[in-house]
Amino acid sequence: MSAASTNDFVIKLANVNGTGSASANGLLMKAIFRMGVPVVGKNVFPSNIQGLPTWYEIRVTGDGYRGRSGDVHIMVAMNAETYEQDLAELSPGGFLIYDNTWPRPHFLSRKDVTVLGVPLARMCNEAFKVARSRILMKNMAYVGVIAALLDLDLHVLHGLVRDMFASKAKLIDLNMQAIALGFDYAKENFSCPLCFRVEPMDKTKGKVMIDGNTAAGLGCVYAGATFGAWYPITPSTSLMDGFAKYCAQLRVDEDTGKHKYCIIQAEDELAAAGMVIGASWNGARAFTPTSGPGISLMSEFIGFAYYAEIPFVLFDIQRVGPSTGMPTRTQQCDIQLCAYASHGDTRHILLFPADPGECFEMAVQAHDLAERFQTPVFVLSDIDIGMNDWMVDELSWDDSYQPDRGKVLSAEQLEKIEKFHRYLDVDGDHIPYRTLPGVHPKGAYFTRGSGHNKWGGYTEDGQEYKELVDRLRLKWASSADHVPAPVIIKSEKKTNCAILSLGSCDGAVVEARDRLEAKGLPLNYMRVRGFPFCSEVENFIQNHEQVYVVEQNRDAQLLNLLLAETRVKRKKLLSVLHYSGEPLDYRFVFDEILKASEMRKSA
């Protein structure tokens, strides 16, 4: 299975959290990236601060695939707690690197892997004086070991160290020294490089490594959002951190120190929702990032915004549910909840980014759609996209972009009209005009979550009520043609089978599909990017006999939405469900579809 390979293998680093390993591991990944070789990085961390197992997986993927493979060729086992499990996970023919300051003879239990011991602790204890450095530098030392073993470019590594510690020059030497320690040890004691090695390529030009939350935060800046409120929750916190960082950088008046934005850490998710609704209602572009528990708590306010027609942008960075679940593991498990969140008849607009690039774009689109349709819009990301660094095309911006603020009447417009009615469908597009407080006396109206008629008045009349909610339903339906269109990849071979998927499944699905085709099973592929589904989604399914719906939850939530919202036949749809909390790997998709298609053939 694990034959020798250049630019196509997986390194996994098993650490204890709180020991500074994450930045060393990131550095390693970035070094490979700077050598022009595509990489996929996944950080799997525990829900605590210090002392529990954490893993970082780097896939070197010369082919440019964007998902996990499911293999591990090189394991750096720095956590005694998980030695056993880490050893077991290694593919045959792989290498295990560990700190043999304290030798572990039982590593010899597997004959099909090579164990490389490095006295990391001993070397660092000898080389460094401060206790904290000794711990931190062990990480850099193994980076040095790997650099030697994989034939990494030391200049690149050094450049990265310099960038990293640009503001703390003292640390540059220290880190360089640690890298050298490991590098030299490996050179002396092992035959470098291994059969797995990195060779410079030219495939990362025009690309960046960025995580989805940072990209989404940046997207909100470009969207012109000026207000954000949130309550801290893993894994959404870094989205607001990103927004805050760029605002501090780009939106503070140099002379006065005054801000052109406002960020509020709310007392809980209900309050965060209320604040965003208040700001949006008052004409600022506003948003809140959260995760599943936050959506549950915001449910009442979501229904209010839906019914009172107030723009409301939410980012749900999904994590494993139900309840607190596994807060640092990934899933796509809030799809159904978000589609229909809140009591009563409610339905919402959802966007499904597949990578940080789309997080950036869809952050902008979400604001446009929320204001155009005057309603909640959910961007459904997840931990995998949100918190891992992904290699994506450099983010780009069209300077001619102007926000779509939707149908807001200006003072001049109000001056001209005879009487303003908040909920009247003047244009026949199901979208009424709105006004902002303070703009003009004629614009004043009363917003309420209780029964109201098209004139904006209070009502308990059944027909008036119906007229209004019927329009809401039509308005929602009409957004189908405005959400991002699905991405379709057609096989060059004729086939009546297809995959339908969404969001962070994309990388694994694309790769599985290629490999299935190579195996003689050609498949078309549609990735949905928005809800309500446009007619293309339904047509795509209708045009196939068998559609594998790949998603990351237990209950086939996307499939259920397809059943409820399109006229497709149930028996066409076959679920491929992954919900263990690890980012999806192509092998899983490959195996499941192969199995299913073989069963189908034999049936």
């Binding site: 960046v208 007392e267 004043a444 979550g449």
Partner: protein, 351 residues
């Protein structure tokens, strides 16, 4: 049926304010509350205060939660925007709205159920943030709209209409506000407009969060004998402690005060609140003193009213957040968009 619109009648020689508007211009839809409900009197006082301050109606924003009290935002200032949100969560909507546009005047109207039970957390945190708004808590010790359950402000021993006594200690919004550092804390009574109107004026002009706890009897469910939030009980134990006059910036206020008797508090816009001590020996500008005065009044079962605490020194939410003067919703997109070139530059860190 649709909401009731009060007919607009203009009489000759009626008083007008600086904007040339009449009192009727500050009215709203016809109330649908019970005849005699305290809340209707509070509504009238609010309308009067806006009239006297010559605030353009469309430059005011009214927010509320759910309850009979919360409905009243529809019954005054017809020409301003209202947002009747969800139960107990008005403070957050007000916070967001105020953040987006600091140039408007914000008034929140709530009830004791809305503020002290379901909404307690938001209520406290809005005070903590010192959001620039006036918050009028129409306190009747009962859930009016859901027909008479005790609220968290019901006093120990207070009898329900059906006769059961409340035995849990009340949450007093005024004590609570002092304990979490609110910067303007007052108490009034729906039945005393003379005291209430200037308090509302002062609260609207205070830069930061102003709380007025207004005792506002519910005639349908909590105005019987044995209720401690009835008209009769309130009149009996009512204790005016500090009278507040609001003097707008335009007026000449260079009057001399005897220290300890008259306490002028200068507001950010140049207006002044003139505090007149009526009896008790404390200084509302000192939070600890106010806390102690309140504790003593509680021991004596007195209802201390008036402006109980004011602190003009603490920055409001906008100042704390270093926001510029211009409302967020008026900053043109061109100023907010960093542009394509900047995006390319920023991404150097991502390589």
């Amino acid at each position: 049926m649709t909401s009731f619109v009060k007919p607009r009648i203009r009489r000759k020689n009626q008083p007008v304010n600086e904007l040339g508007l009449t009192r009727a211009d500050y009215e709203g839809a016809m109330s649908t509350l019970c005849a005699g409900c305290g809340h209707d009197s509070v509504t009238a006082s609010m309308a009067r205060a806006f009239f006297r301050l010559s605030i353009e109606p469309h430059r005011a924003v009214k927010v509320s939660g759910i309850g009979c009290s919360s409905k009243t935002t529809a019954y005054f200032l017809r020409e301003s925007h209202g947002n009747n949100t969800v139960h107990g969560r008005m403070p957050s909507v007000a916070t967001g709205a105020a953040a987006a546009n600091s140039s408007l005047t914000y008034i929140g109207v709530s009830g004791d159920g809305d503020s002290l039970s379901i909404g307690l957390g938001q209520f406290v945190h809005a005070m903590r943030r010192n959001v620039n708004m006036l918050y009028v808590l129409e306190n009747n010790g009962v859930y009016g709209l859901t027909k008479g359950q005790f609220s968290a402000s019901a006093d120990i021993g207070s009898l329900a209409k059906k006769g059961a006594p409340n035995e849990q200690p009340p949450i007093d919004p005024v004590s609570l506000a002092l304990s979490v550092g609110a910067t303007f804390v007052a108490r009034g009574f729906s039945g005393d407009r003379e005291q209430l109107v200037p308090l509302i004026e002062a609260g609207l002009k205070h830069k930061g969060f102003g709380l007025i706890d207004v005792i506002s009897p519910c005639v349908s469910f909590n105005d019987h004998k044995g209720s401690t939030k009835s008209y009769a009980h309130t009149y009996k134990y009512y204790h005016k402690s500090v009278h507040a006059d609001f003097v707008p910036p335009s007026k000449d206020i260079k009057v001399k005060y005897d220290e300890g008797e008259m306490m002028p508090v200068e507001l950010h816009d140049g207006g002044v609140i003139r505090l007149r001590k009526l009896e008790r020996g404390f200084d509302p500008r000192d939070r600890a003193a106010a806390t102690m005065a309140l504790a003593k009044a509680q021991q004596n079962k007195e209802i201390l009213t008036g402006l109980i605490h004011i602190d003009e020194s603490h920055p409001d939410m906008h100042e704390l957040n270093r926001m510029e003067e211009r409302p967020l919703n008026e900053i043109p997109y061109a100023e907010l968009n960093p542009g394509a070139a900047k995006l390319a530059e920023l991404q150097k860190n991502f390589r």
